[in-house]
Symmetry: C2
Subunit: 357 residues, 2 copies
Amino acid sequence: MSKNVLVLPGDGIGPEIVAEAVKVLEWVNDRFGLNIELNEGLVGGAAIDATGGPLPEATLNAARNADAILLGAVGGHKWDKLEMALRPEKGLLGLRSNLNLFANLRPAILYPQLAAASSLRPEIVSGLDILIVRELTGGIYFGEPRGIRTREDGVREGYNTYIYSEPEIERIAHVAFQAAQKRNKRLCSVDKANVLEVTVLWREVMTRVGAEYPDVELSHMYVDNAAMQLVRAPKQFDVMVTGNMFGDILSDCAAMLTGSIGMLPSASLNDQQQGMYEPIHGSAPDIAGQGIANPLATILSVAMMLRYSLQAAAAADAIEDAVSRVLDAGLRTADIMSEGARKVTTAEMGQAVLKAL
Amino acid sequence: MSKNVLVLPGDGIGPEIVAEAVKVLEWVNDRFGLNIELNEGLVGGAAIDATGGPLPEATLNAARNADAILLGAVGGHKWDKLEMALRPEKGLLGLRSNLNLFANLRPAILYPQLAAASSLRPEIVSGLDILIVRELTGGIYFGEPRGIRTREDGVREGYNTYIYSEPEIERIAHVAFQAAQKRNKRLCSVDKANVLEVTVLWREVMTRVGAEYPDVELSHMYVDNAAMQLVRAPKQFDVMVTGNMFGDILSDCAAMLTGSIGMLPSASLNDQQQGMYEPIHGSAPDIAGQGIANPLATILSVAMMLRYSLQAAAAADAIEDAVSRVLDAGLRTADIMSEGARKVTTAEMGQAVLKAL
Ligand SMILES: CC(C)[C@H](C(=O)O)[C@@H](O)C(=O)O
Ligand SMILES: CC(C)[C@H](C(=O)O)[C@@H](O)C(=O)O
């Protein structure tokens, strides 16, 4: 039975890095006989330019029918002036929400070869390996009511709603506890339960679900402290779980601890193992089209996709191995360049991974 | 005319560190003839134990009549099981809100003597000097409706409201722009305007108010990127301004970059220069009563108080000078201890500052 992968290059450096990742995917498809069929679609700014909206019906339908989606990145200054409902980001948010991709897995791993790229002292980050589990289809990102209104006294105000139901918290809790079971069995749930009622419920549900996972050690931390602890001593964490907004902030912070966000993939899953895979970094419009972006985060997103949605763990291993060997060989794109290494372009890096395979 | 200072030691290490800061305040009061009158009050867990609530009427009245408030810290595991309205934090939040202390100034400064305490590479943080201006009486901390409810279908949900009105944004914008004018004239406003409508209004108002400050260079940054940039290259920032929740997270992250949150003071001001001054760190119940906490953040909070609320800049300078000389002399409490320095207790550190004065 063939598997269906939808490729959405998106904006900025998206098309360049996705092109390299697709070559890698095609190679393992052949080599491992995976029977994967690739289709391409429009999303974000690219879709706005072609169709007037960030998430065309055709893309959404193709996404619904795909086993997995490989996304580059969306957004750019060009579309910054559009009203929110028409912006590139809405394409991404629409995919997450329509496909119910509630579980966002964001590893923050320091590649030993790239220790020098971190802004933190080597002893603080060497060996770093955190997994952040971010709820992705709820919370303040999607809460209603929302908008900008004029009060009766003529004063304008903007408002959003931070809301979670018990079942929403339960299902992300299970994902997080199960992820912790496969790792070092420690889960830190991040909230602001000393101020926000919605996170009082979050903490209560996490604790209750935790009783089903007696082998996992659950702790709770306020979000401000979590931001501090990530900077102070990130290796204290194994798996962290948090809501959409806090997860957005903390996962970017954690990713930056490694100094190489050009290296980090992510997965967004629903409860049928359908998933969207994308690099953690953005569309970087400032360097788009120059052929200098790092394709490794996208290539590693392909590996995640093979493992989580396409049941092809051997192919995933092969890709991760190849990336590691390319780093060992001293090849670096500009973002991870350091003294003594060999600077390569996006295409050269992609080529090197293929060769290592 | 005499000035009135209300001292609220609070919980955990609060009483120990405030005791040292009060000695310093009394010394400059005498020496500079400042005519300051000190009163003491209960807040937080200490108030709960004595009166049943975290913010007794007597404390609130004394606070209203004070020119400035010196606060230690509130909270501790002992009161963790209480419902939210009765917890120590509500004492702090109630003071902020009742006194309209909307402008929270949180400097993140790296003391050159303590460069080794940072978890970041020295070249990334040496000379770091950021001011975070956090809105403190609005946003999701105080937004209504809020709570935990059971929906008609029997499902429980928690909810909070993130809300800002135009005047609320305007007044914090003015504080931030004026702070930037006194520094390096660069202001970065942090929002999530690609997702949250409330911050679309925030960005719009910041931009409009910015037109009144043509000498200040205004930029905007998404909160996830801000968290990354603080870790990657914090010296790119001069003044940052943001809402209550993002400010809570980013200011703790920024403080931790210095590695010495035991050193950092903060001010919370209303529009009559009335202010509450407190260390950035918490009540640290784990080390309370051991006499090892660092009193310098509280002593430096006294300096901020003298400068902002008591018009006694010379006394403030004297304190800051004395602290710097004590650090030069190699005295360190446990939290900032490093090889070759001399480890001192809370009281010894306070004594040393007095002697340096
Ligand atoms: C582009 C934006 C809407 C998105 C988010 O905030 O979720 C991005 O920052 C991310 O983390 O994937
Ligand atoms: C104690 C808590 C309510 C408080 C806050 O979240 O504002 C604290 O974290 C702070 O930053 O002063």
